[in-house]
Amino acid sequence: MREFCCAGCLAVSETIAGSGLLGYYRQRELPAIKPDDEVASRVDEYRGFDHETVQAGWVKNKDDSCSEANFLITGINCAACVWLIETYLAGIEGIHSAQINFSNNLMKVAWDPQRLKVSGILQAVSRIGYQAQPYTRETRYRLLDEQRGQLLKRIGVSAALGMQIMVISVALYAGDWFGIDAEIATFLKRVGLLLVLPIMIYSARPFFKGAINSLLIGRAGMDVPISFGISLAFLASFWAVVENNGEVYFDSIAMFLFFILGARYIELNTRINGSRAMESLTAALPAIASRLQDDVSEKVPVAELQPGDLVLVNPGSVIPVDGLIVEGLSSFNESLLSGESLPVDKQIGESVIAGSINIGQPVTIRVAQTGEQTVLSSIQQLADNAALDKPRITQFAESIAGWFITAVLLIAFISLLSGLLGGDPDWLSRTIAVLVVSCPCALSLATPLALSAGSSSMVASGLFVARQHALETLARVDHVVFDKTGTLSNGELSLIRVKTLAGLDWEECTAIAAALESQSDHPIARSINLKANNISIPQVIDIHHHAGAGVSGHIDKRSYYMGSAEFLIEQIATLKFESAHLRDSDQLDKIIVFLADQHQLLAAFVFSDEIKPGAFELVDYLHRERIRVTLLSGDRRELVEHVAQQLRIQSFHAECRPREKTEVLEQLIQKGDIVAMVGDGINDAPALSLAHLSIAVARDINLTSVNADMVMMNRHIEEIIPAIVQARRTRRIIRQNVVWAILYNFTAIPLALVGLVPPWLAAIGMSLSSVVVVLNSSRLLKLKAKSATENN
């Protein structure tokens, strides 16, 4: 049997093995994401989704034995995950079918409501280590999806008809050389006109619309010359068919539109996938809450909660609203909001914030604010606003496209005019050639194509590019700022040492400690329970939690106490501490918890938040690449200094409030550094959006991510290294593409202008220049395949 890091992983693996799905381990490309105990234990919350009122929006009841709904799955990181979930669910009683869309992680399930409940589906998914949540916000993305389908159809039409037009054109060109019956030529031209009509009416519509829009606001967008070119080509050809005299340019129109629609499609696709993946990270708040009415708890949708309602929040659940505690006391993990990984204790009268996790005991809260009014969403809005102020890093192609297009229109107009005035018989074909050959297709493809190839190759290493500029900026970054909590360290306490102080061996002490902590969900408790995995734990009674200080209980009629030194002294007046006990040799970043019975100290447990191994690798790499590194943390001075020394980071700022973080960043930016900020708490959001590039390290569910330029889907911080390498490759490829596109346009336009390029050659040249760009960009995808095999 393999060893497992925690009970969660073990349980998941046993379920997988038990269902005969071990193939998953052979096929996966990335290690699975560690299941989160807190979320996995939310069985109660899952049950909430069984209520009909809650299901109203998103479950479609097709008939009595078949319901359908979409679920958003988090934790998928390669195709093997998809296979695992689908196959596992297919084997579950009551499920008709389960299908996952790998590109947006949405799962469509059809099941029999008589035999299986929604909570059963959610639980099944969590048993194999993923999280499913009902996908209720479909409408937001339906529009984008519709747009995508529509674009695809336009491409299809232009491709299918274009192919046919090509056949006719070849016949006509051949006819020019070898002779053709005038009657057949006329027939072919009429067929061409018939075939090009749907392309003009259907496929080209977005360009005409865009052109009209940009003319209305007085700007020369790319749609203007495109529309102008195809309109001119069409009208001329139309006239030629009607008059039965002159050239037709149907092939040029079809080819031209096909390529340019393809470019648009690639762009739109990147955008949709981007916003989808972002969304999976933002679904932080629960959809269900237990409302207390006359001491009876009832599951209701969070949206129905009103200020003044009483809500019961069980341990392990996320607080759905802002409110005041009216009953009970507990610890709360507010890391989502503060970035602080240690829990905060709160008692009656204190306020709790939506998005924090209750990790102690059940509490009742009175709702103060819901929805948009919560602190969480106000911070999000703050971050959104800050994002709007971000200095826009303009893309090279974009910045020159404007005047380039204007220039092209001008040149075309001049050639039109000179042709007309000079009595040149070829004036029309020459003007069309100029318009077609100068299409900034290659130029406009150059950047987005390379960027999307670059970003999709990065997804393999768990880095998600949320904003298009991220890759460009990452290549230029010369200063990386880290937020310590949870970014460079593991962000959770692990038990690193048990010091026995009274003759008992460490196993006995750990067993007692585990028994005392068995009912708690505090990080310390989890860490101890993990250690005591193979030790038999004694029965314990009368467990009493002293919020924030410690825990006490009886085992075999003896009292035991566990907690901080202050707590033990308070509980047992006779207890003696030696100063050596209070300090661990190389402490600073460590937390010590003591175990005692009524008479003496039994053991000291030393916990630490350890630095990720990848952090060393990353900082070394950054130093080698002469990228400056700064540590910016809200933690205690000694602690930050300690971490900085270990990682050999010279520049660090400790005890920073969010405002101070932004100030430091502002200074760096003023100095002219290109700053990348790597952070994870939402309190970093203002700083994150200020930096040129923001990389958010996603915890399981994280809100900062909404605003980040890049998101790390796993916690392997060293993945930033290949990201930087790939970003630089991408930049190189973009430059090659742009140089090529400009060279092409600047040689082709003069040639077309003097009449050396007929329109059909212009269309081929335009297409070929785009193909070169496509092929060059696809080299970035090949690098992805290479690095993937290296990892294996």
Binding site: G23, A79, N101, S103, I184
Partner: protein, 60 residues
Amino acid sequence: MEIIYLLIPLSIILLGLIIAGFFWAVNSGQFDDLEGPAYRILQDEDELDQQRQSDNKDQQ
């Protein structure tokens, strides 16, 4: 060459059918996931069955 007066209209009708088929495919969501199917073909049920068979053998 009079045959093209028949063949070309025929090919246009065929083209109409092709486009109708393509529209149907887009509308029914066959182009929604362009990544997954590439892997799906490698992960068919055979492997599952083998696994279960060998499990059964182990138990026997």
